[in-house]
Amino acid sequence: MAVRAMWKGVLRVADASVPIKLYSAVQDHDIHFRLLHRADLTPVTQAMVHAGTNEIVTHDKVQRGYQASPGEIVLLQPDELESLTPEESRDIALTRFVPVGAIDAQWYDRPYYLGPDQDAGGPYSALTAALTRNKVEGVAHWVMRKKAYVGALRVHAGVLVLVSLRHAEEVVAIETLETPEGPTLDKKELVMAQQLMSMLEEDFDPTAYRDEYRDQVMAMIDTKRRGQKPKLGLVKAKPRAGTLKAALEASLRTTQRKPREKISASA
């Protein structure tokens, strides 16, 4: 079944526009559990209670407040919160274009695929081509479901992708941290580390990694469901070598070059 669009908008580059449909590029495969009452295995319900009296406070009675200092809370009225909600709009405004790679991975949040809406195939392809030819990505601002977003508009395999970005306040920027320092690194150890790494180098193949843990949790659940005892084991630690140099030497002795079939298969 084809995935349905979650939102429709219009990309705007100055006075030019491209109507698009937006699709989530991620899909959830996590195992979801429910909280149950131990005694009767009934799913629990939740409610907010007054911290002092433990009485339930229904949703319509709940107030919002901000802890301005350890002793002070400033209450916010519903109309005040409403006034801060960004104005609904279909526009995805492109305000800047930067070289591909200029936006560090630390800002990336969630990816969305964009497809052309209705008759917008031509402009969609033209914008895709223009981004590709100039090796740039766009900085986009839009409001979706009452929330303001900033994102990067990129081209991925001939398709436009919008990756939402985190706000500056949400991330500790790498630039603000200090580099760990120490005495000059040993030349021999550097050479050995380079050798060892070169033996483990290969292209990135996303299909080479699987969430096996998820599979095994499902298998365990299945075993239990059939009334059997799941097989559980102990976690083993790896053996360790002594000094850094000894560990590097032992690694070079024991490490095999990666088999290359994966790479040739995908090439």
């Binding site: 084809a2 699709y23 991620v26 495969h29 996590d30 559990f33 909280l35 149950l36 131990r38 295995l41 009934t42 629990v44 409610a47 911290a51 709940v62 107030q63 901000y66 350890p70 002793g71 002070e72 809370i73 916010l76 960004p86 274009f97 991975a105 630390q106 800002w107 195939g121 031509g122 969609y124 033209a126 081509a129 030819r133 100039n134 766009g138 929330k147 900033v150 991925h156 398709v159 985190r166 706000h167 306040e169 991330v171 500790v172 580099t179 760990p180 320092e181 690194l185 180098e201 292209d203 996303p206 699987r210 096996e212 949790v217 365990m220 659940i221 559980l232 084991g233 360790r240 024991t254």
Partner: protein, 320 residues
């Protein structure tokens, strides 16, 4: 829980940080090892995310804090965490109960440490895969190995790849070196990203040259070498904080906050990353250890970047 290497561990002394909006606070630790061949490097993972967005609390009409409580719909009584178990619904209203111990022991063969078995070109990893960033804080004793690994990766332009199990979930991580620092970016597994084929996007329309050129001219006008700091500004939070400050100065809607012991214990675990990193990597003092501290489950979940909730349920958390 990952095996913990150092038998002798100093009690960590994270600098106390007052719960204030200006302070950049970071939560969540995971202490474990990265291994590169047989070289094992003890590190602490700290989320690179911080609570930037002003979090609003839910309050009762009299201004008192609210707590989330769980109830059994059959009896209507409030439940304690010991009354609650985690269940998987395999068919409607039929559950298999799964315990923390079972989840911890389910996959003993899977790595509990970050074993860098492949090094891939950093540029190969598509931005769509990145999920959550952590900094790897070196243990002072293993600083040399840490610096050696970082220098080698940076020199070769490679990211180290590993999968490992942390807190009941397997993660795919790319370890990236920059400016001598290592960070871990968790990546989405391949099946967590939809393929373009699944979406059925029709990008087959031909682009005519004048239309491309028209976009190119507009792109040229908006071209910049890098992001501008204002691009990532959270204007919503700024306006919210301005409103709060105005009301506070005017004494409007300001109520006394009763900080409950529960809240205090959460706030006491807030750690200032910058301070912490400084303490960890300052050379000279070789006696200190990387803190390995046992965290209550509620605090652990912060590391996964869940937004701050006004109330932490003490019941086992459904894995979402």
């Amino acid at each position: 829980m990952p095996p913990r290497k150092p038998p002798k561990v100093e009690t960590p002394q994270p600098p106390p940080a007052p719960p204030s909006a200006e302070r950049s606070v970071v939560r969540g630790f995971w202490s474990g090892n990265i291994s590169f061949g047989l070289v094992s490097i003890p590190v602490t993972l700290i989320s690179a995310r911080r609570s930037g967005r002003a979090s609003l609390r839910m309050l009762a009409p009299d201004g008192t804090q609210l707590r989330r409580r769980y109830f059994c719909p059959n009896e209507g009584t409030a439940l304690e965490s010991s009354d609650i178990v985690r269940g998987y619904e395999y068919e409607k209203d039929r559950f298999v109960v799964v315990t923390d111990d079972e989840l911890a022991a389910v996959a003993p063969k899977l790595s509990q440490e970050i074993d860098l078995s492949r090094f891939v070109p950093l540029a190969d990893i598509d931005p769509m895969r990145f999920e959550h960033g952590y900094f790897l804080i070196p243990n002072k004793r293993a600083l040399k190995a840490y610096r050696l690994l970082a220098a080698t990766m940076e020199e070769r332009g490679r990211a180290g790849m590993a999968t490992f199990v942390m807190r009941g979930k397997q993660y795919l991580v790319a370890i990236i070196a920059r400016a001598g620092l290592l960070r871990a970016e968790t990546l989405r597994f391949d099946d967590e990203l939809r393929s373009i084929g699944e979406i059925e996007i029709d990008n087959s329309a031909a682009a005519d040259a004048p239309a491309i050129e028209a976009f190119e001219r507009r792109i040229e006008e908006l071209r910049a070498p890098s992001l501008d700091p204002t691009d990532l500004e959270d204007t919503h939070t700024r306006r919210l904080l301005e409103l709060i400050e105005t009301k506070r100065n005017a004494g409007k809607d300001v109520v006394a906050a009763a900080v409950t012991p529960h809240e205090e214990s959460v706030d006491a675990k807030i750690v200032d990353l910058m301070e912490y990193l400084k303490n960890s990597i300052t050379k000279g003092d070789a006696t200190a250890e990387t803190p390995t501290r046992k965290r209550p489950r509620s605090a652990q979940h912060k590391a996964e970047g869940t937004p701050r909730q006004p109330k932490k349920p003490r019941a086992p958390r459904p894995r979402t």
